[in-house]
């Protein structure tokens, strides 16, 4: 179990749900209902919980195939550019049909921050 002091990536703040949360916090600050310090605390809780939930609770998975066009590993961050990709979803009761796209970029960070393990 992570302790309160464990630092978490702020990656998921750029996700739709993270941006929606930030917009909602902005509204609350505008209306004078919360202080920016509380907003910071909420966002750091978001960083922690979204990371933990994705790691522990999410069982759905998907597979994809494509041609690896470019890859790099810099500062503990892997980046993959993949072309002609097909995603297949594995869900109980049949998921959505396969999704194809001409290009995707995958950015992946170590689940443990540098130096932690």
């Amino acid at each position: 179990m992570a302790t309160a002091q464990t630092p978490y990536y702020e990656l998921y703040r750029r996700s739709s749900i993270g941006m929606a949360l930030t917009d909602a916090l902005d509204d609350l600050i505008s209306e004078g209902r919360i202080a920016p310090q509380l907003a910071m605390k909420i966002l750091s809780n978001f960083d922690r919980h979204v990371t933990e939930v994705l790691a522990e609770k999410v069982k759905a998975n998907l597979t994809f195939k494509g041609s690896l066009d470019t890859y790099r590993f810099c500062d503990e961050v892997w980046t993959f550019l993949i072309k002609n990709v097909t995603f297949k979803f594995q869900q109980q009761g049949g998921g959505p049909p396969a999704v194809t796209t001409d290009k995707i970029k995958i950015v992946s960070c170590n689940s443990k921050r540098p130096g932690e393990a």
Partner: protein, 995 residues
């Protein structure tokens, strides 16, 4: 409810505190709390805190400590430099007093946390806080720091300290490091806290040491509460130190000396659980803190006689918390040291650890209902596989330990395979919903593990699983279907991983060529339902194999068609049928009429599942699509449509008998079936493109002007009939639009590729369902905007008339944001091919109304409308390659709209839009900068009024913003950054809380 008057006396405050701890409504408690908080924050809060701590009631005392905390947080600036040591002495004095009176831990801990808040506020004045507190507690009174300068060193003071005082010192030391850890470390102003923790480390270590040091002869003589508090304080410090070491490169060398002592407490009954918590936490969160010697000590303890006893208890299924914790400890240690463990597989300790890890997969009972442990081992096995994969290909890849570890993984697969066997019907009936979900979730984890193991073990694992199935099937009717199901489940998990290797096809030949299907369809054999479901799924999962080996298709399809008659299997079976028919469509054309017959039998059953019906119709349509000519498709597709018409005809009777709900269900089903057929008839994505083909006229004439035309007309008539029967009901129109949409993606005409005028007529007839109609119209326009598609200017104009009528009706986009979004998106679609229809639209005043609407859509509250509008303007401003007349009209509109457009963009970027919308709103601005020479003057003019967009930006900020935007010449990232900075400036500093 009556308002609570502000307390007039101290007794009133005490009475309110008492009321707060008595049962009451949440509203009243909240009001009491508000009143108390007001008093706490008042200038007399300091005196109030003293007064409350003098009382004997623990709740009141707790509130006294809390009042000090509130004052320290809200009013600390009012404390003068001279008063700081006085306040410190007062707080410590209260702590000593509470300890002397043996106050309960609740109040003492609260006061410890108040002292920590004091430290955070006045850290410079209380740098040696731990030493000072130890001295005060040792002498039993508070005093200034200087007074204790000559006192003996802390270890000597701690020897004779009372346990409750030591506990208080430990609580303070733990809370101290936890709270300091929460201070924003990114701010350089807070760096000094870290240095102060570093300077306090020796005292903290001495304090923890005095609590957890193990007397050599009689560890039983120590106070377990003190040891537990010492271990928790150690845990808090390790956690802080691990982080500070990474972030600030600061060394805390002394704390490590305590690790082995903490580890040693594992083997003592009374301290096992707190010690276990600490070790697990350190292993999983701060592994770099552990030294090689610590590791060795831990390994020795975990393979000692004591650990073996614990382990024996665990594997017999003991669910005591201590046993579960021990299991967690083993796993965490194994995972943290996986590399070392793998390489030491042949050492006695390594072997013993692996045996324990395997043993944890043999705990009796179903996971996680009866066995809570095996599910915690996935992480370890996953890490081992990852490590072995990384090691493979390195210099030491020939080392025997790699092969031996692979065998361990294989063994683990077998052990998990035993765990996922399905329970009997009677056992399952006893389980609740959560238990069933837990078991299914465990099976999914096993599936993921098997997939990962396959990447390491390869075809050998695949063969083993197939052998297990065929071996079990050899027992015929007496086969163990639980075993077969578990193996098929694992094989199913591998369907996406296996390639087209000849050996794997050979194993699949062995599997699907066995008596599996014949036993499954044999009504005399008692087979659990779950085994049938898994068998059905596996056929669909390996559809590509059946494509390569069509000789297995008849048996597989026979099995699947048998299954669709069983309601609980129908959906899975229909999915697999659909998968097979899609993959093997060309091979199956000869079986088409047999399929139609099978469908007829299935559809005639009163219990036929609706979703299964749709899927099977889609599946048969896949096969029809593969027929070489349109003429050959006519008869089978007519038969399929006949089934749909038959269903649809029932609804009229139901409507006559006043059963509208049932009738509507049938109508919706009929439309969904049409959609399924339409999708099935779509050309596959991987079909070759004939570059030589000159025309598609012959296809066109067949479905629209030849023998096929009546069939297409019949579909349109059926759709109209269903919509009219329900007076344009929204859901029916939505489904009807889906029927038309199935043809939009097609590049060659077909049965479901309708004439645009037919679709337009339908959509305008049912315009009341505005959003669906506009979305379908948008897709229609897009599908007729690609190269080679027919032009539909007339229909585009008809839709534009409809859209402008809507705008006139709505007025402000804020009145109907969802429709506004659909309108703006539709108009955006016109920009690809039908710009002329838009810019030459007459009368002119209606066109102005449309553009004004698009401008106003930029400043509504709803994000999606704003983004759609921003996208429209980006596209419109980017139009450059049109014919001279069209381009002139575009430029004229741009010149007319731009001042107002720029004003709205500036308002949005000046704090008017949400933070997440800044990038989208900056897009049209980028286009303006790159395409229009007057952009700078428009921007300057828009930002001229004082106080616009907000009072937070002055003339200089505005000028800088304009200059930066212009200089960047539309560079995306830099422009977005400047826009964000301007937004932040306009909103104010309190919005800078996020990077």
């Amino acid at each position: 409810m009556a308002a609570i008057p502000p307390p007039a006396s101290l007794d009133d405050v005490v009475s309110l505190i008492h009321r707060l701890y008595q049962p009451s409504s949440p509203e009243e408690l909240s009001r009491i709390q508000d009143v108390l908080q007001e008093v706490q924050r008042s200038p007399s809060g300091w005196q109030l805190a003293d007064y409350l701590l003098e009382r004997q009631d623990q709740h009141v005392r707790f509130f006294g400590a809390l009042t000090f905390t509130v004052k320290l947080n809200s009013d600390w600036k009012s404390v003068s430099e001279d008063d700081v040591p006085v306040l410190c002495a007062k707080l410590i004095g209260w702590l000593v007093s509470l300890l002397n009176e043996n106050s309960p831990p609740l109040v003492v801990k609260k006061l410890c946390s108040t002292l920590v808040v004091f430290f955070i506020r006045f850290a410079d004045a209380w740098a040696d806080c731990i030493r000072h507190l130890i001295c005060c507690l040792a002498v039993g009174r508070a005093g200034p720091v200087e007074e204790f300068a000559e006192m003996p060193p802390s270890p000597r003071l701690l020897v004779s300290m009372k346990p409750n005082a030591k506990l208080a010192a430990l609580w303070f030391t733990a809370i101290l490091v936890e709270e300091v850890g929460k201070v924003d470390t990114k701010n350089i102003k807070n760096y000094h806290y870290c240095l102060k923790m570093q300077s306090n480390e020796p005292e903290a270590v001495e304090l923890i040491k005095s609590a957890i040091d193990m007397p050599g002869s009689a560890p039983e003589s120590v106070d377990p509460l003190v040891v537990e508090a010492g271990l928790k304080t150690f845990q808090a410090w390790v956690s802080y130190v691990a982080r500070a070491t990474i972030e600030f490169r600061l060394e805390f060398p002394l704390l490590r000396n305590l690790t082995q002592t903490a580890i040693n407490w594992l083997a003592h009954e009374s301290t096992f659980e707190p010690a276990c918590d600490v070790v697990i936490d350190v292993l999983s969160q701060s592994f770099s803190f552990i030294t090689a010697d610590d590791n060795l000590r831990l390994a020795t303890i975990l393979t000692s006689e004591w650990a073996v006893e614990r382990y024996e208890l665990l594997v017999t299924g003991d669910t005591d918390w201590g046993s579960i914790q021990f299991g967690r400890l083993l796993i965490t240690f194994a995972e943290a040291t996986v590399q070392k463990l793998a390489k030491s597989l042949h050492s006695p300790a390594g072997r013993a650890m692996f045996e324990m890890l395997h043993g944890m997969l043999k705990i009796p009972g179903y996971p996680p209902i009866e066995d809570e442990v095996s599910g915690t081992t996935f992480e370890f096995w996953g890490s081992l596989i990852e490590y072995l994969q990384d090691a493979d290909g390195e210099d030491d890849s020939d080392d025997p330990w790699i092969n031996d570890c692979q065998m361990e993984v294989k063994r683990a697969v077998e052990e998990f395979w035993r765990k996922i066997r399905i329970p009997t019907h009677q056992e399952l009936a006893m389980w609740g919903r959560d238990q069933k979900d837990g078991f299914m979730s465990y099976r999914k984890d096993v599936a993921d593990f098997v997939e990962a193991a396959y990447s390491l073990l390869g075809a050998g694992l695949f063969r083993q699983l197939v052998d297990q199935v065929t071996g079990a099937l050899a027992h015929g009717a007496n086969a163990s279907w639980e075993e077969i199901e578990a193996s098929l489940f694992c094989l199913n998990a591998l369907s996406d991983s296996v390639g087209e290797e000849p050996c794997e096809d050979r194993y699949l030949d062995q599997l699907f060529g066995s008596n599996l299907f014949s036993l499954l369809v044999d009504p005399g054999v008692d087979i659990p339902l779950k085994a049938r479901i898994t068998s059905v799924s596996i056929v669909g999962s390996y559809a590509s194999f059946f494509e390569r080996r069509p000789n297995h298709l008849p048996l597989a399809l026979n099995f699947l068609f048998t299954c669709i008659s069983t309601p609980v299997l129908a959906r899975n079976a229909s999915r697999s049928i659909s998968s097979l028919c899609s993959s093997c469509r060309s091979t199956l054309t000869t079986e088409l009429y047999a399929f139609l017959q099978q469908y007829e039998i299935f559809a005639s059953s009163p219990h036929a599942d609706d979703i299964a019906k749709e899927r099977v119709l889609c599946a048969i349509s896949f096969v029809i699509q593969a027929l070489p000519s349109e003429e050959q498709k006519l008869d089978p597709v007519s038969k399929l449509l006949g089934h749909v018409e038959k269903d649809a005809s029932k609804l009229l009777a139901l409507l006559q008998h006043a059963q509208p709900d049932e009738a509507k269900e049938i109508a919706l089903l009929s439309l969904r079936c049409l959609v399924a057929i339409g999708k099935g008839l779509q050309a596959p994505d991987d079909m070759p493109v004939d570059l030589e083909a000159s025309s598609t006229a012959s296809y066109s004439s067949y479905w629209q002007a030849s023998e096929g035309a009546p069939l297409q007309a019949k579909i349109v008539e059926l759709v109209h009939m269903l919509c009219r029967a329900f007076q344009g009901d929204g859901e029916i129109v939505d489904s009807a639009c889906c029927v038309f949409r199935t043809g939009f993606a097609e590049t060659t005409p077909g049965l479901f590729v309708f004439r645009p005028e037919v679709i337009t007529e339908f959509l305008l007839e049912y315009r009341a369902r505005t959003e669906t109609v506009l979305a379908t119209a948008s897709t229609l326009v897009s599908s007729h905007s690609t190269d080679g598609s027919t032009e539909i200017s007339m229909q585009a104009r008809q839709f534009l008339d409809f859209v402008i009528d809507l705008i006139v009706q709505i007025g402000d986009p804020q009145n109907e944001p969802e429709i506004a979004q659909s309108i703006v998106e539709f108009v955006s679609r016109l920009l690809r091919r039908y710009v002329d229809v838009l810019v030459f639209y007459q009368p002119n005043d209606r066109l102005e109304t449309l553009f004004l609407f698009a401008l106003n859509s930029l400043v509504v509250r709803e994000t999606l409308v704003k983004k759609a509008a921003a996208n429209f303007w980006t596209q419109f401003l980017g139009l450059t390659d049109e014919s001279p007349e069209v381009q002139a009209a575009v430029d004229s509109i741009t010149a007319g709209c731009s001042p107002r457009l720029v004003e709205k963009l500036c308002w949005s970027l000046g704090g008017g839009c949400q933070r997440s919308e800044v990038d989208s709103i900056a897009e049209p601005l980028r286009k303006l900068v790159t395409r229009h020479v007057r952009c700078k003057s428009w921007l300057t003019e828009a930002l001229k009024p004082a106080g616009f967009p907000t009072a937070n930006v002055n003339e200089k900020d505005k000028r800088l913003f304009v200059e930066k935007i212009m200089c960047l010449r539309g560079k995306r990232q830099a422009t977005n950054q400047v826009a964000k900075e301007f937004w932040l400036k306009a909103r104010g500093t309190e919005f800078a809380y996020v990077s």
